[in-house]
Symmetry: D2
Amino acid sequence: MDFNRSRLPVAVLGATGTVGQRLISLLANHPWFELTALAASDQSVGKRYADAVRWHLPTPIPARYRDWIVQPSRPPLDARLVFSALPTDVARQTEDDFANAGYIVSTNSSPHRMDADVPLLIPEVNAHHLPLIESQRRRRGGRGYIIANPNCSTIHLALALKPLHDAFGITRLVVTTMQAISGAGYPGVASMDMVDNVVPFIGGEEGKMESEPHKILGALADGHIAPAPFRLSAHCNRVMTLDGHLEAVSIEFARKPLPVELRVAFADFRGEPQALGLPSAPARPIVVRDEPDRPQPRLDRDEQNGMASVVGRIRPCPVLDYKFVVLGHNTLRGAAGGTILNAELLVAKEMV
Amino acid sequence: MDFNRSRLPVAVLGATGTVGQRLISLLANHPWFELTALAASDQSVGKRYADAVRWHLPTPIPARYRDWIVQPSRPPLDARLVFSALPTDVARQTEDDFANAGYIVSTNSSPHRMDADVPLLIPEVNAHHLPLIESQRRRRGGRGYIIANPNCSTIHLALALKPLHDAFGITRLVVTTMQAISGAGYPGVASMDMVDNVVPFIGGEEGKMESEPHKILGALADGHIAPAPFRLSAHCNRVMTLDGHLEAVSIEFARKPLPVELRVAFADFRGEPQALGLPSAPARPIVVRDEPDRPQPRLDRDEQNGMASVVGRIRPCPVLDYKFVVLGHNTLRGAAGGTILNAELLVAKEMV
Amino acid sequence: MDFNRSRLPVAVLGATGTVGQRLISLLANHPWFELTALAASDQSVGKRYADAVRWHLPTPIPARYRDWIVQPSRPPLDARLVFSALPTDVARQTEDDFANAGYIVSTNSSPHRMDADVPLLIPEVNAHHLPLIESQRRRRGGRGYIIANPNCSTIHLALALKPLHDAFGITRLVVTTMQAISGAGYPGVASMDMVDNVVPFIGGEEGKMESEPHKILGALADGHIAPAPFRLSAHCNRVMTLDGHLEAVSIEFARKPLPVELRVAFADFRGEPQALGLPSAPARPIVVRDEPDRPQPRLDRDEQNGMASVVGRIRPCPVLDYKFVVLGHNTLRGAAGGTILNAELLVAKEMV
Amino acid sequence: MDFNRSRLPVAVLGATGTVGQRLISLLANHPWFELTALAASDQSVGKRYADAVRWHLPTPIPARYRDWIVQPSRPPLDARLVFSALPTDVARQTEDDFANAGYIVSTNSSPHRMDADVPLLIPEVNAHHLPLIESQRRRRGGRGYIIANPNCSTIHLALALKPLHDAFGITRLVVTTMQAISGAGYPGVASMDMVDNVVPFIGGEEGKMESEPHKILGALADGHIAPAPFRLSAHCNRVMTLDGHLEAVSIEFARKPLPVELRVAFADFRGEPQALGLPSAPARPIVVRDEPDRPQPRLDRDEQNGMASVVGRIRPCPVLDYKFVVLGHNTLRGAAGGTILNAELLVAKEMV
């Protein structure tokens, strides 16, 4: 492997899936990363990428990658870092194989998210969890490691919770999601399940939303993460939107703020990506809308190139302290964009 | 007015609207009521009903009413009872006019719902509130009075809450709705607001949902209703379903039941309409589905001819005690069917 | 096999699919047929029907069939007639096996539709093709035979064409379809392909629509069908409707009628099922709507229990002679209901 | 009026509507035009633009215009050219007033489209119709005049027809449209008409589509346009897509080409905007897709910034000569983008 290049060589695992397609689009003109390999499952290996993929984005396949030959999702690949958009059933082993072989793995898949020494990373929220990497590297006995992106609904919830938790101390919250169909990949949700309908169930989703935020917002002490102690209940629903997960939140604090404090905490929030000027960082990670009927998925999901969480409808809650709505793009910040931002943080922190 | 008929003569106010259409369909073959007049706004008065209405139901306009001439929404009408599906802005005055002129008004409109001596009636839930009618009659100085149907989301919530409140004592709940477009009437919600979208706001809806259940589940004492003392928070959203409001509930009790007790309380619930055998009463007012992904609007809204609430996904809540989902048809039990069932109760109780 | 029963014993092949579900619902209370066996693919064989099926209809699984054990789709089955809703890839051989074993097969699948001695049957249109059965029986050397239902779009087109062809002689027509997602079965069309979208392609559909009507409307002479000689072009599109195929037709005649003649030909049309009083026959096989914006899928697909074709927008065509729109339910008359009506015709004609 | 500016001062009439919003977005950074005034109906006059408009685009209101005060849609306005997105009922008189007062009017509204001396302009198709302006100026007795944009469905059809008509001579065609809801503006189509539905009727649309192409593709001779002599039949349908009109075409030629000639004629087509390098001109006005299932509205409407027509599914037609599908963005090239491109052509031709 030859890394004498001005940009870091990266590969995409699961390159033909919906998240893989987003990754490739976002990496096509990335200032820090150079896409060097596309890998997918055995049925795609050896084919031209344009033949292997069923492309779903309104922008075309970046021309330079159309004729690339799809490679197996196994080491070695000509890359220093691999972005993983692998399906759950193969992700655990494959990602371990890459990490153990010395690669950095920035994954969007779920199997390693709750591993004790894998940072479940949202750069604005818990960049201070990166020291976990050193223990992970020791465990693996090499330079390779895994960092994980949270669940697509969790990311936008956790982004919105961060400034509130820091300022007021969250004690309890109830969240109800209305999630887009792209979250299930392709073919994913059958149209017969979605026409004139809502499905009040997404397999495994409530469990992820009820566990991941505790880790993400937890404190690092003695090399371990102490889960944030608030209580969290999630109701997850699938609705007929293409992109953009909408979440209705009721929340209680240790110290109840004034409404204006809540708004200011959201709007003024900035994190490491903004301080470091990471290429994919939104100028404002949380955008507040003051109209009574916003945010809305189709109108607001592309805010800040789909990298922001959009908050609105901040108002008192008769049961807990406040209610608000948060929306975010599930395949940009919630998946492909999030894993790229994670990798940018590693570069900026000189951990590659 | 001549009431020497075997069935009670009834009229429909607001006969051209979406709820009015449902009323007419349901009354076309009603065993106890005889539809005798169709009334609507001045722009429809004097027209044939078939010319005045833009009919939205998949079943046709009942043939016998097509040529009826639309009458003004003012007394007198050849009827003992009037069903009101009037728009909010004219409902208050018009309904008072009819009640003061001696008519019984069974309304689906909101203005009188919270009046102290107007029963906000769901026959399975609070038939014991009917004595309010006597004080109302005294106030009006005649035989006329108003009874009101709750908001379309409130009805299904309150139906589901009734057996729980009786058995375990509700202390707090958070509900998030995903409401169908027919709830806004026609033309109502613009398609540009609904394609690939959710609108996390419905004007006035959260206020109704947060106030009405306290009255409905309140106790009648000394001729007044003492509001039920639980705390309730509502998040209301519009989604692209035609009919059927879906509601995700987190709930806390004074005495926390076992999960099986919760299920039994729902499934075994029966009320006055079932005891009295009212014509529009569902055999089971609450139907429990045990599949992990039910109820769903398109599949379950027509349960028991759209007169039942369908409950599913009963499971522990990490913040309050339990979570569940409730679904119900918003223009049948939630509007037209509810006002007819209310009127049937009056007949059975000999209050007409 | 014991056929000493008052109703004809029938089985359903492909009982777990979407058309199979419709068949079972329609057969549950059929006056002439007694459902005696449910058969499906090997992965369902041996399971309770309620466990094997993913039920999609808003009405529940008929209670008596829930616990039936799914049988293999192979002879023998305890039935005289089998309804086939098998997938295309297995239908050809399996249906031949049943027919050669002496069963009557009423199929909705496509492989045998264009076989020379298989009636491609719409009872109102070409009951006079039934003599083909005798040659087929001779070929098979027994009492068994196959009759086929046309494609779901073809059926409604051919029904609408029949009275026109008889009266005015069709010479050319262009039809553009907007077809419902249920036509592709379940899971069928991915929701990501349908949200905010139309897919202007349905694999194989245009070929079927451009060939089947020539056979259906052809003349039987000397034991063979001479294809109807008109020219037909089809454009097939998939749109986000659940049920109901909508078709826009431009048509030219040998003798150009007056508009009123066209309307009368549609509205007065009756066929054998009406004359014979078949249980599933619609009173009017073609219903004409005179409103400028009808028929519409959601409002008109259930006309005559989903067994009618609904025609509207009859108007002159600047290129051919006339334009009109025809709509019909694709899984009722267009699939399950059609195969049952076909079987009813066989019973009425004493061909079972 | 002071035109000593580097860019041409332009105003938008009907600035609060959906096409008005698109115009403002497109003009915000236009190299040749400087937006100087926003005009709308009396109910908006005097308000801040951000208060008067209900903004529907996913990109925000250009910041500089938020606080502009909405002006009346009457002369004088501080502009040389006005873009008109006025509603039909007021467009005829208002546009005449501006033209008679010396302004150039580039309109998207329909009333003047078929006026004999008003170019019905698609720059790639009939830039040679611009001499009509001189007769119009003479009629009006000044420098002002009107040019009109065709109907949103007509534009994409006419663009696709142009290279075919030039090369092979169109004799007849039948087109069936599946049109997006944004074509009806806001609130426009009710969601209750669109959920699980198609409406096979759009008021006035078929008449426009059957008349406008004859003018657009007509020849200019002796100062008049001789309508193109082909015969054209249109079926217009509304489907649940946000943007992008899809049209299925069957077409016959004076000289029947080979399929490859058809494809080449589409793909190689260029017009004046490409030759002149107009700022809004797509590099390729017609883009050909070779996949069997393209173009699709959501995936292809933004091709070339929404300024191209996308053609696919070129195949033989059993009735006429060929079939194909054409898709285009109805509010970009089909409305706002089209009127801007028209104005750019005027600038390039020094007719302002």
